[in-house]
């Protein structure tokens, strides 16, 4: 009995150990809240922590929209010092809620890629938000399916809404998925009020609405055994298909279908949270982290971990990124309009397309 007791105590001690670990460590702790797709190589983070004598406390708070909601709920007592993953479209809402602090002066000298400022000149000039990476939401197609069925690709949104093509498409619900919201936004931006007629045609033609990108891509896309050869996804997904292929390939099995008005541009950034990084040491750590996120090493690594393009002007593209093709000409939607109307769009989408 006693031996059991000792063993149990030791085990319980081992289990609780992380609670007390780090108490003796005198390094500054920087709390960084991110969306769940945040991913950087462990050794990069470890080198940063060692060089700057900082302990990074990364907190993942769900997808970007969910994260923003959590930050709004906790703004009286911020759960972190720095936030990564607020995108240009969410920026006005974050500002209105008073979540963001002005950027430290040290970040002013960083050079921004002209691609980023082209996408959204207004957001790129922000003084409370530092662009880190950017990317596009667009339609991916299953090349093998289209070759096999000898079907030409649609060339416009209007053609896409024809029954022949609508029944081949799966989109995500904008209420629960950021890619879904992005695609809806792009269509409303391109078509204005007539976008709703277009969506009704798409619905009548048999478009499928899924809960999330994972559902759409892994359950409905023909490439992964589903029944739809067109899926609303990311511009970099064809490159990721090559990178994560089970055997070496030099052609991607999927391709992008960049229809005019069907591509959405997005920039993700880093900000200081109001009420966070209060003392000088933490503030310095926050500055260091911001510079680190724009450093060449991180800007290179994030291309194949988060599958976005680097915001720094001077960083080279990873070779595998060539499978994503050239950057489309899409521009970001006016954030103020988005802030005012996005909720109504989602509501309307659910009335007209889902219900």
């Amino acid at each position: 009995m006693r031996r059991h007791f000792l063993l149990t105590t030791a085990l319980v001690g081992l289990l609780f150990q992380p609670l007390f670990a780090g108490a003796a460590d005198a390094r500054t702790t920087l709390r960084v809240v991110t969306h769940s797709s945040f991913d950087l190589p462990k050794d990069l983070i470890a080198t940063f922590e060692a060089e700057k004598k900082v302990t990074l406390r990364l907190i993942k708070a769900g997808d970007a929209g969910e994260m923003l909601n959590k930050l709004i709920l906790s703004k009286e007592t911020p759960i972190a010092d720095v936030v990564f993953g607020i995108d240009n479209a969410m920026l006005p809402r974050a500002r209105r809620e008073g979540l963001l602090q002005p950027l430290p002066a040290e970040t002013a000298a960083l050079s921004l890629s002209p691609n980023v400022s082209d996408v959204d000149p207004q957001a790129s000039a922000a003084s409370d938000w530092l662009p880190i990476d950017f990317g596009y939401v667009t339609i991916n197609i299953d090349k093998a399916w289209f070759a096999e069925n000898k079907l030409a690709l649609p060339t416009s949104l209007d053609q896409l809404a024809e029954p022949e093509y609508a029944k081949l498409l799966v989109v995500e619900n904008p209420a629960t998925s950021s890619t879904g919201l992005a695609f809806l936004t792009a269509t409303v931006q391109a078509k204005g009020e007539s976008a709703w007629t277009w969506w009704r045609a798409l619905r009548a033609g048999g478009v499928k609405v899924s809960n999330s990108w994972s559902d759409a891509y892994y359950k409905d896309f023909t490439r992964n055994g589903g029944s739809r050869p067109m899926v609303v996804s990311y511009l970099t997904s064809p490159a990721a298909e090559v990178f994560y292929s089970d055997k070496p390939v030099n052609v991607s099995p999927t391709a992008n279908l960049n229809l005019p008005g069907g591509v959405y541009a997005q920039i993700e950034g880093l900000s200081l949270l109001t009420g966070g990084a209060k003392d000088a040491a933490t503030r310095q750590a926050a500055v260091d982290f911001m510079l680190f996120m724009r450093s060449a090493a991180v800007q290179k690594a994030l291309q194949t971990t988060m599958w976005m393009w680097p915001a720094s002007a001077t960083v080279a593209r990873e070779p595998v990124m060539t499978f994503a093709g050239k950057a489309p000409t899409a521009r970001a939607v006016d954030a103020a309009v988005l802030d005012r109307d996005a909720r109504n769009w989602v509501r309307r989408f659910n009335q007209e397309v889902v219900r």
């Binding site: 406390r57 906790s74 759960i79 809960n211 994560y244 292929s245």
Partner: protein, 541 residues
Amino acid sequence: MRRSRWHGLWLGLTPALFIAGMAVLPMLRLMWFGASEPSPLGTESGGFLSGWLAIWSDSYLRERIVWSLTQAGVSTVLAVLLGVPVAWVMARLEFWGRQWLMQTLMLPFVVPTLVAAMGVLAWWGPRGLVGQFFEWDDRGSAWLLIAGNLFFNLCLIVRAAVAGFESQSAARLAVARTLGATPWRAFWRVELPHATPAILSAMSLVFLYCLGGFGLALLLGGQAYATAEVVIYTLVAHELELVLASQLALWMLLFTGVAVALYAWLQMRVRAPLRGDRVRRYRPNVKSLTTWLMLVGVWMVCLCIGLAPLVAIFTKAALASSVAWSEALSGETAAAIWNTTRFSATALVLATVLGVSHAIVGRRYWWWRMWGMLPLMISPVMVAFGLILLVPQWLDSWLILVCAYALLAMPLVVQPVAQALDSLPRAWGDAALSLGASPWRVWWRVTMPLIAPAIRRGVAFAMATMVGEFAMTLFLSRPEWTTLTTLIYQHLGRAGRLNIDSAWVLSAILLSVTLVLFWLLDGRRWHAVGTPEFDDRSPHA
């Protein structure tokens, strides 16, 4: 005597306060926040109560509530129609593979939600091993969610009904047969009425699980068949429409509350005294066609509904490329397994202590039992977001995660322990007391050994479900806490064949980890399925 009553109160207060602090308070806080903030749309101005009633006039929300109730009702009825005949055969006949079937039928209940959903899809889905032969509308189907519900809950009905049939007095059945009742009539007029309270109680539990279930509904229901729980999740997590979410959540609480009240009340009625003259199982006549049909039917139901989705997962994992396997067997996976195990184990200690003490007090009052079932009734998303308002400074601490796990696992410990306590003859404890044992000694030497199997079973179930608890993905997470479930999600968040293959392999690993842990805790005692009150230590066995 008075002193011991106070002792009982203190014992019960801790778990009650835990539930209040971890579940009720966050929910109230979220509702309060929603009510005090001006609505972003400015539409709901008629006050909380009128808005609460107005939910029924919104056609979309009304449809969602009706669909939630429908899918739960249909799943429950189907589970009874399939489960009761299976249970009867298992309780009365001694046939080849009976023991093994009883065990495998329990497996789905301990399967992680995410794995279960993937398994059900791999088997019944539009592109599944069997589903591809059906004419599925690829825009979603009501039957997919119902198939998932059955997969999870059939074992609850079978288990309860087997217990009900087994506690049948052999003498009474023999009298009915001697007086000329056909086997069929004896079943309807003697056996079924005897088992009915047990079956009804299991039915209310299944109804509760189907109605309040969040993960499965989100993963299998899709957009077209979203249940009210999924709508609440969307409203809170994505739209921050807290007023509407609270109003909807209150309605759902009302419905689940009725199911739980029914369950708690029935449970107190089922507490049948143990009988010495149980009906013996007999070896069936293998030459009779009816017997053949019965046995084949039982095997088909168990294999198709219970086992097949699990086999489908292992098949998918086996078909995954060797690169995916070598990737999945990396240090990252080992760390995730370790995290999964240590979080669940710590939470388990907490859930067991709280669950057992709650069950001891719950023995006396049915409403106290209801309180213990509360974690099953409320939306996990409201708890997760309520905690953000309540204790933002502790959110990234390990403790809150463990408490959340313990909260969701507690009811699973409470149920079997409360059942075991119910069927303890009071006289035994009284005898020990009158022989001079202290109340503490009675507890330690009489009650404890008798309910130990039930505790072990409850702990095993709690552990197994915690390992893959889907609702935990709603809470904050840190990269160093990555569990197997979050790791699967990370892979499903990226494009590429290797990622989906890794997700299958990790699902198979998660399933194996669950089964190993379940076996370690409840191991060789799976045969106790049919006799939830006592196993081999029972004086009557």
